[in-house]
């Protein structure tokens, strides 16, 4: 078992495995990050991803185009995020409650639609599906180690890495980013300077919807080729944890997601390895325990920082 794991570390396939499982955590964490920075933390990521996972595969299989599918999934999640904004900003529903509502809605609505549209109960497994493509880079693909490192990743892997860069530039290098952060930190001060606080918060929720939408589409059309009810299995919550763990910045979020991806990859490797005697429940628990631990470390660090300031 261990030699198998070792072999995968040596020939760098483990990188591919880690990236595969990191994508949805990373994308949802970026969505959580931008909404959190604007002071409207979106805890509905889990539900949004489910909605996109369902919508994208349903539309994708009917139109036989992964691109149309992904776009449909993203459109659905952006719309719902904006609706969240309406309920939270206009109707004054607490943003946490709105997110919670989106989570139960995502789970229930996708099962309802599965039943109403396809007459199915547990999962949707289309015969012909045009999945999100895997990018093989010619020439590099043939180089032994570099090939494993750079080639053969799903398109969404690259999109998620680019999304980190994009978020970084958006948050730290544009006027919009400055507005975003100021709205999150001191909404009244921002408003007094003429920043449209609500508009920024709507847009931040839309960004979180966009990223959650991409993550959801990847679940049903990249990672797998089916929709299973509640298939996101807590990834949205991990994403939220990564936001705190990553110190609320895109680079931290990337590192945090990779760490969680690593934990996840090891879980899969150990679980599928023949002759493993570690009960699966304990392995599955690792990411959650790591999160709680990270939360504590983060909180202690924050406390020290505050003490140092005062």
């Amino acid at each position: 078992m261990l030699s198998n794991l070792w072999g995968q570390i040596i020939d760098l396939t483990i990188i591919a495995i880690i990236l595969r499982v990191t994508v949805p955590i990373l994308l949802s964490a970026l969505g959580g990050l931008i909404s959190d920075l604007a002071g409207v933390v979106n805890i509905g990521l889990e539900g949004l991803m489910l909605i996109s996972a369902f919508t994208s595969i349903a539309v994708g299989s009917v139109t036989n185009s992964w691109l149309v599918g992904v776009l449909a999934g993203v459109a659905a999640t952006v719309l719902i995020s904006l609706a969240m904004g309406f309920f939270s900003l206009k109707m004054k529903v607490d943003i946490i409650i709105a997110g919670f509502a989106v989570n139960i809605f995502g789970s229930g609505f996708t099962i309802f639609m599965l039943n109403t549209v396809f007459g199915l109960t547990g999962n949707y497994n289309p015969e012909h599906l045009n999945k999100i493509p895997v990018i093989r880079i010619p020439f590099i693909d043939d180089i032994p180690l570099l090939g494993n490192l750079l080639s053969g990743h799903n398109l969404m892997v690259w999109i998620s890495l680019l999304a980190v860069l994009f978020s970084f530039v958006l948050i730290y290098r544009t006027p919009y980013g400055v507005h975003l952060r100021s709205v999150g930190e001191a909404p009244d001060a921002a408003r007094s300077l003429g920043i449209h606080v609500e508009r920024i918060q709507y847009s931040a929720l839309a960004w979180s919807g966009l990223f959650a939408g991409l993550a959801g589409a990847y679940f049903s059309m990249g990672l797998t080729s089916m929709f299973v009810k509640d298939m996101t299995a807590g990834t949205g919550f991990l994403g939220l944890a990564v936001v705190l763990f990553g110190n609320r910045n895109p680079i931290g979020v990337l590192l945090g997601s990779l760490l969680f991806g690593l934990a996840n990859a090891i879980t899969t490797l150990v679980e599928t390895a023949p002759g493993a005697h570690i009960p699966s429940q304990f392995i599955k628990m690792i990411p959650y325990l790591v999160t709680v631990l990270a939360l504590v470390i983060f909180a202690i660090r924050q406390k020290r920082k505050n003490l140092a300031l005062s």
Partner: protein, 355 residues
């Protein structure tokens, strides 16, 4: 006087929200169903059309009262715990252990002992996020969500590997509980177990605690204005930890009452989101313990209705989830309630001016 009218307005608002949510549910039925009348009748009438269904409603309301109370208490203290689900599992495990492996006790001792152990389990598990929140200011939403996974997986491990009944075959559960641990039916005609009375008693006790004791006053004060509470000499950290522990204790009893009342053995994955349903119940009840009873009943009614609807028509029972979401959003929309209050206020003032 003013408080009373505001209370009535709240009640009216919540009732209207429920009606609007159900009406939107009806519109969805009209859109998707070929037999809409049958579906609507099933949803609304069937839960109370016979003793069996009505008894099922009461059975379903029982754990919801407990988790609703659990969340009302923490929400009142200003702690946004989402950890009732995990606390419920840990409490159920502690209680079920006593119920299953301690033989030879009379029921009058056995059942209280089970409840005490379940409370302890839930409270201890609740203490973890409570301490993290109070002393390290660790985000309780994330910590409780993570601890839920840890709890359900741990209990699942224990049930699969350590305490599994050899006779249970494919799926994991503990051996059946001792006869002295069983909560029986209280009426021959109803399939309802007497856990509902424990639930109602718990609601009354929590009401008395919150509104008639110093501890309850402190808890509410910390939730409403933590700085003021701190300034007034209240140990807010202690209150926060205590609130999550009380919440965990309630969730724990809720879990074990399901085991000794309904299932007869601790089963893996027996709670499908009862802890999360509790959040909805607490929101509907505006965190009021007596309101929790009504909200839990309504919620259970809706669930049983959705089930009968799925059986008797072509509409999936997940329609109930959509109705619940609408209900949560409408009831939590402070803008609507503020607007209503303002209008009533204005109208009253207008009358006064006319005189």
């Amino acid at each position: 006087m003013k408080r009373k009218s505001s209370f009535l307005l709240d009640l009216l608002g919540i009732a209207s929200a429920a009606i609007v949510a159900v009406l939107i549910g009806f519109i969805i039925i009209l859109l998707v169903s070929d037999q809409p009348l049958q579906a609507m009748k099933s949803l609304l009438v069937d839960p109370i059309s016979n003793a069996f269904n009505f008894g099922t409603v009461l059975n379903k309301a029982t754990p919801l009262i407990f988790t609703g109370l659990a969340l009302s208490v923490v929400f009142r203290a200003g702690v946004f715990s989402m950890g009732a689900e995990g606390q419920l599992y840990v409490g159920a495990f502690f209680g079920a252990w006593v119920a299953t492996f301690i033989p030879g006790l009379p029921a009058a001792i056995h059942i209280p002992l089970i409840l005490i152990f379940a409370m302890l389990g839930g409270a201890l598990y609740g203490a973890i996020p409570g301490l993290l929140k109070a002393y390290y200011n660790a985000n309780e939403i994330v910590s409780t969500l993570m601890l839920n996974f840890v709890a359900t997986l741990s209990v699942s491990y224990l049930l699969n590997n350590v305490f599994k009944d050899p006779a249970s075959g494919g799926y994991a559960r503990m051996p059946y509980i001792q006869p002295s641990a069983k909560l029986g039916k209280f009426m021959e005609a109803l399939p309802t177990h007497s856990g509902i009375f424990i639930a109602i008693a718990a609601a009354v006790i929590i009401y008395l605690f919150l509104y008639k004791t110093k501890g309850g006053y402190e808890l509410r004060l910390v939730g409403e204005n933590p700085l003021f509470a701190e300034y007034g000499g209240i140990n807010t950290k202690k209150v926060i930890v205590l609130s999550v522990m009380i919440s965990g204790a309630l969730a724990g009893i809720g879990g074990v009452v399901e085991v000794i009342g309904l299932h007869g053995a601790l089963k893996d994955q027996f709670s499908v989101g009862l802890g999360f349903d509790g959040i909805i119940i607490a929101l509907l009840a505006r965190n009021h313990p007596i309101g929790v009873i009504a909200a839990a009943f309504f919620y259970a009614y809706l669930q049983v209705g959705a089930q009968t609807m799925q059986m008797n028509s072509d509409v999936s029972r997940e329609l109930a989830v959509i109705i619940q979401v609408l209900l949560v959003l409408l009831v939590s929309a402070q803008a609507i309630f503020a607007y209503l209050k303002q209008r009533v206020h204005r109208r009253k003032r207008g009358e006064a001016n006319a005189l």
